[in-house]
Symmetry: D2
Subunit: 425 residues, 4 copies
Amino acid sequence: MNALQTPFGGFVAVSKRLTGRFAAVRDASLALAAPLTEEDCCAQSMADASPVKWHLAHTTWFFETFVLEKYEPDFRPFHPAYRVLFNSYYNGVGEKHPRPQRGMLTRPPLALVREYRSDVDQRIGKTIENHGHEPEFRGLMDLGINHEQQHQELILTDLKNLLSLNPLAPVYRAAAAQAAQSGSPLSWVGFERGMVLIGARDDQFCFDNELPRHEQYLGAYALGSRLVTNGEFLEFIEAGGYRDAGLWLSEGWNWVQNNGIVHPIYWSREGDDWREFTLAGMRALDPRVPVSHVSYFEADAYARWAGARLPTEAEWEHAAVGYPIEGNFLDDGRNHPAAAAAGEGLAQLFGDLWEWTSSSYSPYTGYRAPEGAIGEYNGKFMVNQYVLRGGSCVTPRGHIRASYRNFFPTAARWQFTGIRLARDS
Amino acid sequence: MNALQTPFGGFVAVSKRLTGRFAAVRDASLALAAPLTEEDCCAQSMADASPVKWHLAHTTWFFETFVLEKYEPDFRPFHPAYRVLFNSYYNGVGEKHPRPQRGMLTRPPLALVREYRSDVDQRIGKTIENHGHEPEFRGLMDLGINHEQQHQELILTDLKNLLSLNPLAPVYRAAAAQAAQSGSPLSWVGFERGMVLIGARDDQFCFDNELPRHEQYLGAYALGSRLVTNGEFLEFIEAGGYRDAGLWLSEGWNWVQNNGIVHPIYWSREGDDWREFTLAGMRALDPRVPVSHVSYFEADAYARWAGARLPTEAEWEHAAVGYPIEGNFLDDGRNHPAAAAAGEGLAQLFGDLWEWTSSSYSPYTGYRAPEGAIGEYNGKFMVNQYVLRGGSCVTPRGHIRASYRNFFPTAARWQFTGIRLARDS
Amino acid sequence: MNALQTPFGGFVAVSKRLTGRFAAVRDASLALAAPLTEEDCCAQSMADASPVKWHLAHTTWFFETFVLEKYEPDFRPFHPAYRVLFNSYYNGVGEKHPRPQRGMLTRPPLALVREYRSDVDQRIGKTIENHGHEPEFRGLMDLGINHEQQHQELILTDLKNLLSLNPLAPVYRAAAAQAAQSGSPLSWVGFERGMVLIGARDDQFCFDNELPRHEQYLGAYALGSRLVTNGEFLEFIEAGGYRDAGLWLSEGWNWVQNNGIVHPIYWSREGDDWREFTLAGMRALDPRVPVSHVSYFEADAYARWAGARLPTEAEWEHAAVGYPIEGNFLDDGRNHPAAAAAGEGLAQLFGDLWEWTSSSYSPYTGYRAPEGAIGEYNGKFMVNQYVLRGGSCVTPRGHIRASYRNFFPTAARWQFTGIRLARDS
Amino acid sequence: MNALQTPFGGFVAVSKRLTGRFAAVRDASLALAAPLTEEDCCAQSMADASPVKWHLAHTTWFFETFVLEKYEPDFRPFHPAYRVLFNSYYNGVGEKHPRPQRGMLTRPPLALVREYRSDVDQRIGKTIENHGHEPEFRGLMDLGINHEQQHQELILTDLKNLLSLNPLAPVYRAAAAQAAQSGSPLSWVGFERGMVLIGARDDQFCFDNELPRHEQYLGAYALGSRLVTNGEFLEFIEAGGYRDAGLWLSEGWNWVQNNGIVHPIYWSREGDDWREFTLAGMRALDPRVPVSHVSYFEADAYARWAGARLPTEAEWEHAAVGYPIEGNFLDDGRNHPAAAAAGEGLAQLFGDLWEWTSSSYSPYTGYRAPEGAIGEYNGKFMVNQYVLRGGSCVTPRGHIRASYRNFFPTAARWQFTGIRLARDS
């Protein structure tokens, strides 16, 4: 997901401890940048990714623009130019700095962006004192907090792409290799056909694209018990999967041919050994760990080769809704998916990797965009993208839920994306 | 639709008069080329479009490859190289000539392609004598006949694009301008919520993407009584529709900006007057006639501006299934949409223009691709394309039905595509 | 050379038989098209090349625009739209049809272009009667005749590129393979240092880029006695020439890498055997025949590999000026270079292949462009192109001379270009 | 000039104070970076430009690779990976990091690059003690010093491009606006025709492309007494110069049209006022100051509009050789061209701006590339580039001479390039 693409929450989670939650999420963003130099925070690896510094500033801009400007008496922006520099796509707010040139913003320096954060944090603190009991204000704050969580995830996603381009293979944060574990075999978990309810419930925060909750009819189906592993994906490669046109969607095959794709983006080969670039540096490929950073095309081709298919987003949500939100998240500091533990039922639903579904991202029946600039672009991305579910190892734990809809174009690979198989039953 | 993309029919229409039907469809293709020179038939306007000569050869190749090669004793191809030259995308059949270079095929000359057609027609005639009673053979023949009908439509679609690039604005076939008529006002026709059956019935020919017939739940909705007109679309233009980012999907806005799009592709302006290039040459824009050759992005933006939305394909099919298949088709020789007649209910459902739906083209639950080369690519196009329904003024009358699914990418404009509005109710 | 780029001649060749010369050159153009179908004449293989029909019309447009419009009383164009359609780049004359879309001009049909030619021929005939004695008129006619000769060469050059893209490898005109001959060894012919005169003399027709005749100082040098052969170029390939960065100009190396160049454009390999596409169809590569259709980059890299260099244009002209203009030309109907005969001195200077020089195409000191539209673009191409000398096997015999300057960009390969070596001595 | 493109000097300047000269040039590079943050030093604005940090490292790599590796006993590189990371194009030395990805090198951090510099400086110091008397060693050191000076110039050139992309218009170093001065009128300084000597003399350091010194014949000509000013160039713009195809080379006109060029790259307009981005920030355009950052195409079109032409490089050198090397250089700290002072003869020959010549960059007759990796690419850039002469306001004073040949492609604008007019006389 482009975190900037789903800003609005239709429902408001009431919290007594807004001040604390706000401070915690703001601190967490800075903590992510702690191991990084100014240079690491400034560079942009491609148009789809943004510099860490930009993420730190943009999330601040969001609070300044959508909260302070509305609630602060005698509002004055920290710096007038930041209105343009750190706007992402909100045309209703005015001009935007061109996305592919975010890496050119060597000024303001990181230190000044930190000041910008402090200043806004302080002013938000005062504003909470005056308006912290108002539902609409709290709704906006919840939105800002969730928005910042989305960008925490993007900070690591975009950073990984940047570091991967450096022949020195820099380590963002060292992490212990996973303890030896045999890996669990893939089994299938079935679901009956029938009418199901899809979409967010009305007692928690959600984004507007999860609404309205609505009925949908599902045929009988089964889901793979865990994510597809590196070892399984290697079999696909060794069986010639990337060279067999019959396994690919037509557009996917063109993509493979035109870009010379022969393995997942962060894999490389040295002699007979496969390696994988991670946020803990270059590592030997662990066959038990889920295959990550695959495009929709690769996920779809693998599923076809395996005699299966990808789940629809409704199938996924219906299956996931009864499971607790547990898993390998950003908070665990691993920043990499982990092998599934043995066990019954569906493993790895939450955390580890976003799971591609076969569902094109489109509005639920009856969807209504909110009014104003905040709602301006809510549905703007509902075309030519596919829905992903479940969060990843760089998603903050409190951010995800079963109804959460992430979305990316079919060729995107720099996200923490993985494969769960499905089949009719 | 890329006619080459939905080759297989799951059900067989039994016909006593196969020989006659085959001859009729083959003659109809040649009749389309009758007003054209060798040069008109050879040129290719862009990678998405093919030369008329190529269509005439490829449809012949289809019968030769999928019928004669299987049923003819001592089969020998008319010319071994044609196997490559006139293959469209069937990897299972072997090599393909690159699509963007079809206009380079000045050889074989048109006369030789006509010989190729005659030769295959004759051999198919004999084969019908021997196998015309066999259901499987009849199924393949029905598929070939429907495939050729799809290409008849593409012959005119592609030709229109080619002729539009010639400053001489050549006339393909003169047509009387439509008799004066006042145009009917737009009204809304409502449908109740509930479970509906979607997909082809089992008593007629269909393509495999229309199967399986399955249940789907629909909320209450209403459809516009007719297609959006040129006059209505002009209001959108004059209201600044092409310059208002708020009306467009994000990807659509990029498309508008990057390509400098300010009106439908075949429109042009001379002073205060709008003109439209048609297969009958350049004409003054008729405000009562449906707006044609709009992309998905333009259709979606117009609908948003009009306070409405595009229908889903299930909404469209459920609404259309009770209507007779009547309208302005290829057989009428007008080759251009016509103003809607006054009347009750939904007008222009069939013929006139393919209607964009908001549904991404994807497999129906339980979809299975047929075996072998014919089925090889059936589902290959089910990504990043959107479904269109109802046929157009260049669709052969007998080719269309309520369950028929056409599909194109969101930026495609050279097709005969139009806009029907929908809304929740 | 782009034939359209050097239209004006500063000096006028006086001829008693202008009518006959005009008729002969006009007939010769039609004769080149005689073996071709309407389809062959209409297609355009790439933006750099033009359809045969376009050449036939453009040369006619040239006489109509620069001769008839000036000399014909009550001048009216054959068709007003042709003024735009068949203009090449003369901004002074008005609008131009976009070059890459010349292949879209299926109308006017070839038959109408022939009528256009007849009509203009007739009117030019009458105009000669009235003005044939006037020097300025004769100068314009000489220019038109030479312009048409340039396009005769381009007709075959462009056609070869088109036919080469057809997997059927069509034969334009069958030609007997060259009689067995042993091939002559390469020797060196030396020239003293000193001041030389470069540029056209004032007693014959020339283009303005050959003027003014001027002094230039040359160091001592030697030229290879004949063109580099296919056999010699094969040695370069087999020695890894296309893979050795050290042999290439930096921009040339990028060109090789980015385009995956591994052999001359019309060569192909079948097993161990090399073949070459020619206007007489596909043939086994003859090692004694000069290597043709090489870019400046390939010529320069070969020369470096061979321990030599390319000649400057002044070196070439000084060496060639004493030789008779004999060689393998268009008039010989071979349409392919031939092996050099054994002999003394420099062989193959004229005809066979245009010879790359190391001289960037720039104005001679004191160069002045003529007035008006004819002169408008005379110097317009004097940047980023390199000079070629001597004509080729598709140049009309009477068209070439020692001072003649042709020019192409460094990556161009579709021309009949070859390599003559030089070295300091 | 790509500083990396002319590494070798054929002649050795003997200096007693090598240690001092080395230290001075190394310090000067660091001084240029002093006003910059780590972020400023890391970003890359386009493929043609490099980050400041990269320049600091590459110049160090040059001394390490071409001096220490040869002369240091028990040589070990500072870091093995730097061999690849900071190689520019020397294929003979091994792999290179892709040029467009230099901005991705957030590691090594600037601090480590400074350590790299210190380490190599120290080791070079020791090596001077042992080999400072050897001519070949001194030649390599001179080469390294001149190479570093070239990169000092590029540091500011590339930085200016980067800062210009920041809407904050950052100031690199404040500079007093030039004192009021009336500006000198343009006059012409003439030169007789005759044989002249071109190329470097043998008693000072030079690059190999300035050799061999050789005779050349020049016709009579005159040069403009000073550079073309902003005010004069504004007249060209206001006269429609950017919209008049007749003024442009054909390739230049395409460049103008395709890129929408309407003024020099760092100019902008605010209402009726023109502004210019400089290294001292955004400023009002001073009409007396030389127009800078123009492409060859713009320089050539302006000259044609002014009824003049650009000088050849031989004309420029012959005119300049008698003038002292005085002017507005990097050492003056202005970092911007200055208005010409009134006076006789030719002003602004050295410093201020590199002056485009009409000469394509090619080897002098008898040119020989040196052996080995250093010479590997000396002539590699002698195609499709044009020669510039005289140095600019960011060239170190001691670096320039009359025979110095800089070179850039015809569309380059980010260099400090200007226009001196010439004409035949």
